[in-house]
């Protein structure tokens, strides 16, 4: 591929929205107030599983300022699935705005709108609900027993069973020299977006509904709402203002239908903001899983086949679970000729599980990468070499979307491993003899991952429009949702580069369903690859129109012209040039009277997987069991770094979340009531500034032929292989394998104690 010089793409430009954030000028949804706005509050179930027999709101009559009350008694019961995905392929529709049954402690029961927050809170406390209590079940293994209380019915009681296989697993095991088996457990964790989940619904006199709020998926939200509210899409506008984080938990419909109904009922704007406590159980959590691997390998480390069983706790509703478990096995960076896969999506009386950065990949990668580390150790192969030996190669079938017939056009996994190993001094550190007399022991570990650049299994798509102003500046209309990752900035860079403008010439208008074209939303690490391609194609369309006018003005053939840094020039005679502003002015006000509008729909031509390798150094205190992560190097095949600094930021932040996942984060539930026991930042610990190690990032550019300027997805990747790299480093330090997350000091001490006991015997 001929390398064209790039001016804007590849630059570490500051995020175009960050100055307003630094000065406190950015208006998030929590900051918004509309005239005469009401405040709502949701009444939640104090029981994990119960039938609602009666809802008595008579006591509200004595409270002034209450404007509306809604519950299953006055709201249509229309089933939906809250997962923010295209409508096809989603499993069951088993959620309702309000149901006659509650299925987890914290489930919605009713809602009120009142003149202020205090009144709304008081009103909710005055509603009397009569429940008929049902038995509850929390553990997926118990929920699968025939005598378990029934939460939902999928393909069977409390379960959707999804089998899958490639090749012949028995043959794979027969051809193997050794068989290894391990079982891993992962815990529920929360995205902990700093801005609480909040929606404001406004309704005008024609009945048109506008909803502002914390969503990653304006278009999917509108589609689902249109169905459950019985309104055409033209009557629903979803706007995503600047948002304080997403990380997946907002790839979901939350209480949009509740604020919408309250607004429609009162004719006034209504705002409902979750408390931090509500956030933990009323939004979604990362699926807790039990994953077992049974793997056949040759003595040289070649993988011959594996049987993987995944039990995913879906919580009370289906949501994302079936899609998540189907896609997670495909995110595998290794050649495995024979695979057998059994997935169980299990319903329990716990809060809904949903999307969270990685979408099942952190769970399966923790299991797979720890399992591989063990295999490498026992076969006396370097953990890097076993990965290199089995890695996917360019030309292999792309496992992500097998039905599409796509192949792998880029794969930088080995480069990631080699570059990371060199910078980390892997060989030296790995072979270093441990001082067994010291209470503090050092160790190193590595883990890899493969992720996605858009929808797995089906083809992805996005549209974009670019409007050129008569002074040569431009507005990009995109459905891409900036959650802080910087997609607005990346879209501006792609547009500026493609047309030949500067970034300050570009305005990005994003995520408003009445204004911006269709986009699936911010998830699946898809914005740069899919939405970026749409913006690039729309920019090419705009550029072609610019060149058409310029060719008339310069009396040159279009093919002879190009645009750089706001100038249209003759390629063979760069002195002959016109400013873009002159061309756009002429187009707008000259004889043609035509605005330059570029537009495009980009259908995915592939789903190029990004790859990465994470190297971690830890120190384990054998006195207290505490793990200190001292250094992390994360090498990523990003295709092309459109904005290296933003990518570094994604990687660094993902590593922090990965460290939290590995060592300290876990939601605890009361075993009797199913109540969330630690719904605050006091008992649910997120890594703070002092918990963070030295972080080094390495960007490998493999220039994928289908990506915009060669770019692939990156957003989710960095979190995924952190936990297994830490677990492997802990094993390297103290010789014990912790197979359940989080790796707490207590688990380490107990494992060390057991190991010593075994050695004594």
């Amino acid at each position: 591929m001929e390398e064209k010089r790039l001016f804007v793409v590849g630059q570490s430009l500051p995020k175009i929205d960050s100055q307003n954030m630094a000065t406190g000028r950015t208006l998030y949804t929590v900051d918004m107030k509309l005239p005469r706005m009401l405040y709502g509050k949701i009444l939640r179930s104090p029981y994990p599983h119960a039938l609602i027999k009666r809802i008595d709101t008579s006591r509200l009559k004595s409270l002034s300022g209450v404007k509306a009350v809604i519950s299953c008694e006055n709201v249509p019961r229309i089933p939906y699935n809250s997962a923010g995905l295209p409508s096809y392929g989603i499993g069951r529709h088993d959620e309702y705005i309000f149901d006659k049954k509650v299925r987890f402690n914290g489930d919605r029961v009713a809602a009120v709108a009142a003149i202020d927050k205090d009144t709304a809170e008081e009103a909710v406390s005055l509603i009397n609900v009569e429940y008929e209590l049902l038995d509850a079940v929390y553990s997926p293994e118990e929920a699968l027993r025939p005598d378990a209380p029934e939460v939902q019915t999928g393909t069977g009681k409390n379960c959707i069973f999804i089998p899958h296989s490639i090749g012949d697993i028995e043959k794979g095991f027969q051809e193997a020299d050794e068989i290894f088996e391990d079982r891993y457990i992962t815990q529920p964790v929360h995205t902990c977006c700093m801005e609480p989940t909040v929606f404001i619904a406004d309704v005008d006199s024609s009945g048109k509904l506008t909803i502002y709020g914390t969503t990653q998926i304006p278009n999917h939200s509108r589609r689902i709402l249109s169905k459950i509210l019985g309104l055409p899409m033209s009557k629903i506008r979803i706007v995503k203002p600047p948002i304080g984080g997403g990380f997946g938990s907002r790839q979901n419909l939350h209480h949009e239908p509740v604020v919408a109904l309250l607004a429609l009922k009162t004719g006034l704007p209504v705002k409902i903001e979750y408390t931090r406590e509500e956030e933990f159980f009323a939004s979604t959590v990362r699926h807790p899983t039990i994953i077992s691997f049974r793997t056949g390998v040759k003595r040289d480390g070649t993988l011959m086949g594996w049987f993987v069983k995944v039990i995913a706790n879906s919580g009370a509703y289906t949501g994302h679970t079936p899609i998540l478990v189907q896609t997670l096995l495909k995110k595998n960076p290794y050649r495995v000729p024979n695979e057998k896969y059994e997935a169980y999506c299990v319903y329990t009386n716990l809060p809904n599980s949903g999307a969270f950065r990685g979408y099942g990949n952190p769970q399966i990668s923790f299991a797979r990468e720890c399992h591989l580390d063990r295999i490498a150790n026992e076969l006396k192969i370097d953990p890097i070499e076993i990965r290199v030996k089995n890695k996917l190669r360019v030309g292999d079938v792309n496992p992500l979307n097998p039905s599409m017939g796509w192949t792998l056009d880029s794969c930088g996994l080995e480069e990631c491993l080699r570059a990371g190993a060199q910078q980390f001094e892997w060989g030296k550190k790995r072979s270093k003899l441990r001082d067994l007399s010291s209470e503090k022991r050092g160790g190193v570990g590595v883990a890899c991952m493969m992720h996605i650049s858009g929808h797995t299994m089906s083809a992805d798509c996005s549209s974009a429009i670019i409007r050129l102003n008569e002074d040569g500046t431009a507005t990009v209309l995109t459905g891409a949702a900036d959650l802080g990752q910087g997609s607005d900035t990346v879209m501006a860079q792609i547009a500026a580069e493609t047309i030949g403008l500067r970034i300050e010439d570009i305005v990005v208008m994003a995520s408003d369903t009445d204004i911006t074209p269709f986009d699936m939303g911010a998830y699946a690490s898809r914005q740069t690859y899919i939405s970026g391609n749409a913006v690039k194609m729309a920019a090419e369309d705009a550029k072609a129109q610019l060149l058409k006018y310029a060719s008339m003005m310069l009396s040159e053939k279009e093919a002879a012209l190009d645009i750089t840094d706001r100038w249209v020039f003759v390629k063979d005679n760069p002195q002959k040039k016109l400013s873009v502003a002159d061309v756009t002015y002429e187009a707008q006000y000259g004889s043609e009277r035509s605005q330059i509008l570029g537009r495009a729909t980009a259908k995915a031509l592939n789903n190029p997987p990004p790859f990465s390798a994470t190297f971690t150094e830890v120190e384990v205190d054998t006195g207290t069991g505490a793990v200190k992560v001292s250094r992390v190097i994360s090498a990523h095949d990003v295709g092309r770094a459109i904005n290296p600094k933003l990518i570094e930021g994604q990687i660094e932040g993902g590593i922090a979340q990965g460290i939290g996942y590995a060592l300290m984060e876990e939601i605890h539930y009361d075993p009797k009531t199913g109540a969330t026991l630690n719904p605050d930042f006091f008992d649910y610990r997120i890594p703070c500034s002092k918990d963070m190690p030295v972080i080094e990032t390495i960007l490998i550019e493999t220039l994928d032929p289908t990506g915009p300027f060669g770019a692939k997805g990156v957003g989710e990747c960095s979190l995924i292989s952190v936990a297994p790299s830490i677990a492997n480093a802990v094993h390297n330090a103290v010789g014990v394998r912790i197979k359940s997350l989080p790796i707490t000091p207590e688990k380490i001490l107990e494992a060390i104690r057991q190991k010593k006991e075994q050695e004594r015997q």
Binding site: S12, P14, K15, D17, S18, Q19, N20, M21, A22, T23, G24, R25, T26, L27, Y28, V30, D31, T191, C192, C193, M194, E195, P196, P242, I243, G244, G245, G246, F247, T275, R276, L483, G484, Q485, G486, K645, L646, E648, G649, E652, G653, G654, I655, A656, Q657, D680, F681, F682, I686, C688, S689, K690, M692, I695
Partner: protein, 160 residues
């Protein structure tokens, strides 16, 4: 309802408050100073950090009436007269220390509390000063760099 005087961002204001109201509620809901964020409301996240008589505090754990007669500085009030941004704000933008931006005002206020007392902090002191401010996006790497960059700029400015 009480009527109290507070000096906010250099301006003395008379504010009507309830005794149970916190400073963050009064700043955001009554004075429309929404730059100060509220995220956990229990003093565990630092999003609501403002300076009270020059010291960073969680404004969710300060009763508004305890701000009576005090000098409160919020993110809206740190840029010098005639300038759009404070050096910390410039550094946060330039170093890429901002992703979703929701922790940013509190983070910058905590950093200002540090730099106002110690213009040349080492990395450990910076990490300590922001240990009560949770950021879920950045892993703190670029935030620490931005505070270092602002510290350097402020020192140069002071010498000049």
């Amino acid at each position: 309802m009480l009527s109290i005087k507070m000096k906010i961002n250099g301006e003395t204001l008379q504010v009507k408050i309830e005794p149970y109201e916190s400073l963050v509620e009064v700043l955001r809901d009554k004075l429309n100073l929404t730059g100060t964020k509220k995220s956990c409301n229990l003093g565990n996240c630092g999003s609501c950090t403002v300076l009270m008589d020059g010291r960073p505090v969680n404004s969710c754990l300060v009763l508004a009436l305890d701000a009576r007669g005090k000098e409160i500085t919020t993110i809206e009030g740190i840029a010098a007269k005639g300038e759009a941004l404070h050096p910390l704000q410039i550094a946060f933008v330039e170093e890429g220390a901002i992703q979703c931006g929701f922790c940013t005002p509190g983070m910058i206020m905590a950093a200002k509390g540090l730099l106002d007392r110690n213009l040349n902090p080492n990395e450990e002191e910076i990490r300590q000063a922001i240990a009560g401010n949770i950021c879920r996006c950045t892993g703190y790497v670029k935030i620490v760099k931005a505070i270092q960059a602002a510290s350097y700029k402020l020192q140069v400015k002071l010498r000049a």
